[in-house]
Every structure is written in structure tokens, then in C-alpha cells.
Subunit: 364 residues, 2 copies
């Protein structure tokens, strides 16, 4: 895509800015809602795209990434789109091969097992060259959205990416990556710093390409003790937020350090993020107390509720909204991504419940 | 085993009661230590027993269960033994088939998927008939221990057992079992009440057979939100502790609701437990503050530290002991069981470090 095409003045005017307002803590007519993995395998139209094309080819083909990004918006009145991609495109950009094994998840044929393996990591990275396909997908999607809702870009956080690179797959005891931290603190910081640099350049590139908000996923931060989080996650999360904010203070930044509830206060005081994601393992009222009005909160319905039919979804949404205590500084989401086995009716009911119930609360 | 054989007066006199003293909050000469899954696949002598006999046959053969229970004590100066068994013997006792698939873990050929399936669950259960083999293993082991250290018995907690029965295996998103709670609250409480009854009878039987302390494992409690924990875990955990204490106030009870850190205060105030287990996702000093001096704490080293050699283990043990703040009301353990891939030197260094460093702290 040529430089001319990514001139932001060409992007259509935004019609629904409820999500961006909630990120900034401004008044909203209702609580905005989007759902992690809202473009995913629970949608038949997504599966039909994936039937012919492997996972990373969808990521690497702007037309297809754009197509699946828009799919859930045609079904549900979501308040934001999130670009279809994967956090593991960053290790790929650093020369580390990642495959997606159907039914199993990501697989690294040559994981970073020893500190000597670090020499195999490509650094620095020209993100325009290595990740230009994501930027192209963002620009195309931003245009095709026609201003319906804002477009979110994202990256994995350094520790989560490091974990994958060392483990070579997800869902383990994280023994290898956590042992790295204990055994090789200097090399761990080196690797995390490299990943941090690439994440920052990647996020800045996403903004340039059209992303209107950015989320950083630290999906494995809950494997670390509070002391290890403070040493190996927090500084890099803060660095990313601050360096991106220094260039683009107007772009809302969301940090989702899943399950690391103890970190909410520190993260909210860091000034590096506008929004903090939470999962269902913390009561919203407790999270609200920890962050006060320093940041907006995003979450936190248990995804399993979406299996349980309209009435249960409505009841649980009501409880959640009431526990958050205020409809300001709030973005409704799940505490984790959609499952491939979720029924379509689940997100449909949830989006409806959030909109209707929050409007009632605001107009009371 | 005949009634005569389980006459407790025949049990050898206890020589090392440091663990029991720490459970009760009495003065100790050093911090006692035992390790979850201390009898396990990381031991070559354990693997050699398992080479010829499948997992549940070891559980069901008192001679073998006793043999593997004692194995780690011959290697390390541990302060307690825990009977070799599995939490899934309780579903088996309730007529639900459980297989152990090598390399994969537990598998239920006919899980409890629908509320109609509840009618398949055998209840009430004659624990002497269905779980007598565990009682025999306890009695035999208590004798063979010759009073070296106390013998711990255990059970899974009702919610964790219910999860396995419904999911049919571990390590999933818990969608089925959590959906049960949301969709079928009455039937969930019914199932949990049945499991609670069996757990209580089972624990009382274990005491009669020679167990000198008991641990309740709620391994999947961290999948629940604080509100769901309060409704579906806490009441049953408290009921178990109180009913066992009503009959045997002298037997220390340990509750390990893994990762449900928010519950520590409630559990410590319930009066149902003497000791609460914690994993590494909470700073020991924070846990200590939450429970004050109402209970002892047990934990909480990250098992991954045991891969990292003597010096790292010693440093991390020092940090842990210092964070607990006092050597009283403390039992050292890991925050999770031993991994099959752990080196033997790991627990060896850990036990040594706990003993030496805590003695230094006490004698200061």
C-alpha cells in the first residue's frame, strides 16, 4: 500500500466514538462493548474463510484479515473492531518460526531454549518490512469500516512473547521460561528489552496505519509471582505505554495483564495506560477501588456465561455492571477471548444486555 | 485390615512433631517442610514401581501406596508424609469411572454432562466399603513410618471434584462445569452437597485409619469469580472443616484453594481450618496480613525455582521466608505439586535451605 493511501485525512469520519470516550473517561450515553476474539471460530463465516486458508495466511493477507475483522460487526452492534491478527507475528518478525497447528495452537519448531539461542533472534527489526502486512490490513480495515466504530490494534506483551518463544507452545507449566528468569536474569532482561523495542515500533506503526486504540496483552503474566511481575513485566509494560504516549498522546492504550490483579494499582498509577483490562477473578468493585478514577476498566464477564442463554447472560451482566459501580470509565468485554464452541446467541445477548442495562442505569 | 490393626495405641510414638506444632501455631525449632506430590514421577524409584503397575492400582494396593509414600522420606529430611492416592478416588467411590491415561492425565469415559446424569451418581456412599483401600494404606503407612514424621491424608474439595466429573478431564476452559453453576444452581448445590457428605465421611475415615492431619485440595477454585467462589466453594469448604473438627478437634486441617487469594480472609475467619495453603501468585507478607494470626500458612515457592540449582533455590527460599515475616505459624511447601521433570537435587536443596535458613532466623 502506498504512502498516499495511509494519509489519515482520507479515513472516513468516525460515527460511533463511545468506546474512545469511555477510554478517556468522558461521558457516554451507554457502556460500550467489544469482545476479545470477536472475530473467531465461533462464527460460521469465519470458519468458512479459514476452511481454505491457514491461520497465518489470513493474518498476512490484508483483504482476508480485513474481511474477518468486519464479520462480527455485521452481526452485533459492537462499539469497536479489533484487527484480526496474532500476538505471535512479533516473534515471526524477529526470525523465530511459528506454526499454527489446527486443534493444538501455536508451535515453534526451534524455540529459544538456551541463552545461546538468543543470537538467533533477529534484532533490530524493521517493522515496516516485517510487519507491513499488519499495517496494510489496518489501513484497509479502517477504510472499509467507514467510520462505523474505532479500530483497535494490539501486540503481545514482552513477557508473554518471551514465554511463547522459550516454551515453544502454550498451555504448559511455563517451566522453561520461568526458569530462565530465575537462572538468567541479565539475559532475560536483554530478551525482554529487545521484545519491548519491537513492540513499541510495531504499535507506533499500527497508529500510523490507522489504529485508533491499542491493547497490550500480557496473557501469561498471571504465572508470575508479584515480585517477578514487578521485575520482569511491569517495567516493560510501562516503557511501552510511555514511549507510545510520548509520540501519540491522543491514542488510548489498554493494558490487559490477565489475572495479575495485584498489579492494578501500580499499573493505574504508572500513567502509561488509559484502560486496564480485568478478568472475572476479581470483583469489579474491588478493581474499581484499586484504580480509583485514574484509568478506565475493561471487562470482565466470565466467558462461560455466554453458554447459558439470554436470561443468565442478562442477570450476570446486570450484576457485573452494578459491581463496577459507575457507567463511566467502563468498557464491557469478557475476561478472556471467545471460545470456538460459543453459540452465536451468546455475544448477541451480551452486547444487547450491556447496551440496554447501562442505558437504564445512566438514565435513572 | 482388621479392626484390631487400626487401634491407634499400636501406632509408634511420633518423633518429629514440628509439622503438627506449626499447624497449631506452637513454637518450633525450625520451619517444617513437606512438598505436594513429594512421592511422584520425578523419583526414579517411583517410576520403577509404576513401570509394572498402573496408577490407580498403586492407589488401591496398600503395600504399594505405602511404599511410594515412604520413598521421598528416605531421600530428604521432610517433616511430613502424605499418603499416596488421588483426589479422583472419591468420584470412583460414587460410581463414576475414572481412568488415568499415561502422559495425558485423568479421563472419565462417561462424564456427568446433564442434570439427568446425576441419577447415575451413587449416593450415599459407604466409604469403608468403597475407600477402605485408602484407609488400609494409611494404617499400614502410619505403622511403617515408625513415628518418623506425621502422616497427612487428603481429599479433593467438592467444586474441584464436580469440575472433573463434568469436564471428564483436566486442563480445559471448564466451560461445562462452570456453565452448570450458572444454568443449574439448584442441581449444582445438590451435587456439591453429595460430594461434601462423601468428603466428610472419607476424611473421618482417614483419621480413624491413622491420618494425623488432613488437606483439602480445591485445585480449580481459581477458575471461579469471587462471587461464585462464595456461593459454590466457601460454604462446602467450611462445612467440611467444621464437621470434621466437631468429631476430631485435635486433627489439624489444611485448606488449599489454589489461586483464590481473595478468599484467604474469609477462610481464616471461618474457624474451619488451622492452615491455609497459598501459591506463589500472592506475596507471603500480603497473605500473612490477610489471615493475621488466625491460621498458619503453607507454601509458597514457585515450583520452577526447583529447576534452577542450589544457589537460586537458597536465595528464593530466603526471600520467601523473610516475606512470611515470622517463622511461627508457617509450613514451607511449594505453591503446586512437584513436576515429573524436576531434578532430584531441587527438593533436596529446598528442604535443606528451609531448615537451615529458618533455624538461623529463629536463633537470631
Amino acid at each position: 500500500m502506498s504512502e498516499e493511501n495511509i494519509n489519515k485525512n482520507e479515513f472516513p469520519e468516525l460515527k460511533n466514538d463511545t468506546f474512545l470516550k469511555a477510554c478517556r473517561g468522558e461521558e457516554v450515553p451507554y457502556v460500550p462493548v467489544w469482545i476479545m476474539r470477536q472475530a473467531g471460530r465461533y462464527l460460521p463465516e469465519f470458519k468458512s474463510v479459514r476452511a481454505d486458508v491457514d491461520f497465518f495466511s489470513v493474518c498476512r493477507t490484508p483483504e482476508l484479515a480485513c474481511k474477518v475483522t468486519l464479520q462480527p460487526l455485521d452481526r452485533f452492534p459492537l462499539d469497536a473492531a479489533i484487527i484480526f491478527s496474532d500476538i505471535l507475528v512479533v516473534p515471526q518478525a524477529m526470525g523465530i518460526e511459528v506454526q499454527m497447528i489446527p486443534g493444538k495452537g501455536p508451535f515453534f519448531p526451534n524455540p529459544i531454549r538456551t541463552i545461546e539461542d538468543l543470537s538467533r533472534v533477529q534484532f533490530p527489526v524493521d517493522v515496516n518490512k516485517e510487519l507491513g502486512y499488519v499495517f496494510d490490513a489496518l489501513t484497509l480495515t479502517r477504510k472499509r469500516l467507514e467510520g462505523r466504530v474505532p479500530l483497535i490494534g494490539f501486540t503481545g506483551a514482552p513477557w508473554t512473547l518471551m514465554t511463547y518463544c522459550i516454551e515453544g507452545s502454550g498451555g504448559t507449566t511455563m517451566s522453561n521460561s520461568k526458569s530462565w528468569l530465575y537462572k538468567h536474569p541479565a539475559e532475560s532482561h536483554k530478551f525482554l528489552s529487545m521484545l519491548t523495542r519491537v513492540c513499541i515500533d510495531y504499535l507506533l506503526g499500527q497508529i500510523k496505519a490507522g489504529a485508533q486504540a491499542l491493547q497490550i496483552f500480557d496473557s501469561w503474566s498471571n504465572e508470575l509471582s508479584p515480585a517477578m511481575f514487578k521485575e520482569y513485566c511491569l517495567p516493560y509494560l510501562v516503557q511501552i505505554g510511555k514511549e507510545v504516549k510520548a509520540v501519540h498522546p491522543e491514542i488510548p492504550l489498554i493494558c490487559f495483564a490477565k489475572g495479575s490483579n495485584f498489579a492494578l494499582e501500580d499499573l493505574s498509577k504508572s500513567g502509561a495506560y488509559d484502560v486496564l483490562g480485568i478478568d472475572w477473578t476479581i470483583e469489579p468493585s474491588v478493581a474499581r477501588e484499586m484504580v480509583a478514577d485514574r484509568v478506565s476498566l475493561q471487562g470482565n464477564l466470565d466467558p462461560c456465561v455466554l453458554y447459558c442463554g439470554d436470561q443468565v447472560i442478562r442477570d450476570q451482566t446486570q450484576k457485573m455492571l452494578q459491581s463496577f459501580g459507575t457507567t463511566k470509565r467502563l468498557i464491557a468485554n469478557l475476561g478472556h477471548g471467545m471460545h470456538p464452541t460459543h453459540p452465536i446467541e451468546g455475544p448477541e445477548s451480551y452486547v444487547k444486555a450491556v447496551h440496554e442495562l447501562s442505558k437504564q442505569m445512566i438514565n435513572k
